[in-house]
Amino acid sequence: MDLLHGLVLVFVAIGGTAVVLTRDPLAQSIVVSFYGILLGILFFVFQAPDVALSQIVVGAVALPMMILLALAKAKAEEE
């Protein structure tokens, strides 16, 4: 357990909390993207590059994109 691990872990904990506390979904999609990158970094320092790669393409790109698309769709319907 070195400083790097501790630091990244604390950031991940804060990131997860921030995702939950961001109540507006549009803003949340950006926060969740950052959270995905943080998790990717954590997995990288956990010596899991495979998982880190998965997490970054999915958590930082695909998931936020799907949130945005869902919101866009709902908004377009309201108008």
Binding site: H5, V19, V20, P25, F46, Q47, A62, M66, I67, A70
Partner: protein, 114 residues
């Protein structure tokens, strides 16, 4: 200090649940669910970690050199991708609920009482 990774996993699980319980927006709720799920990844990978060992990829290190546990990584790897499609399914449900009920707020959905 060496308990920190496990504590972070527990924290993510609990805080995600808190988000779900108090959520006023179905899309927010689905994202909180993915935070709960990330707790399981952190837990699994933290368990399999070995200090000073390298990743279980034997390109630059010889076979038999100390490496972290490959099994937990295999379990997590597939789950990350699959979970995203499940999130998509949940988002699609939320979008359709919104279309029918005109709201994303679970407090305003009341067709299923008693």
């Amino acid at each position: 200090m060496s308990f920190l990774p496990f504590a972070v996993a527990a924290w993510l699980f609990a805080v995600g649940l808190y988000g779900i319980v108090t959520s006023r927006h179905l899309i927010h709720l689905v994202v909180c669910l993915s935070v709960v799920q990330s707790s399981t990844y952190v837990l699994l990978l933290a368990i399999g970690y070995r200090t000073g060992a390298s990743a279980p990829i034997f390109v630059e290190i010889p076979p038999g050199a100390p490496a972290v546990d490959p099994v937990v990584q295999a379990l997590t790897l597939t789950d990350v991708v699959v979970a995203a499609t499940v999130s998509a399914l949940l988002l699609a449900m939320a979008v359709q609920v919104h279309k029918k009920a005109g709201t994303f707020d679970p407090d305003e959905l009341d067709t299923l009482q008693g």
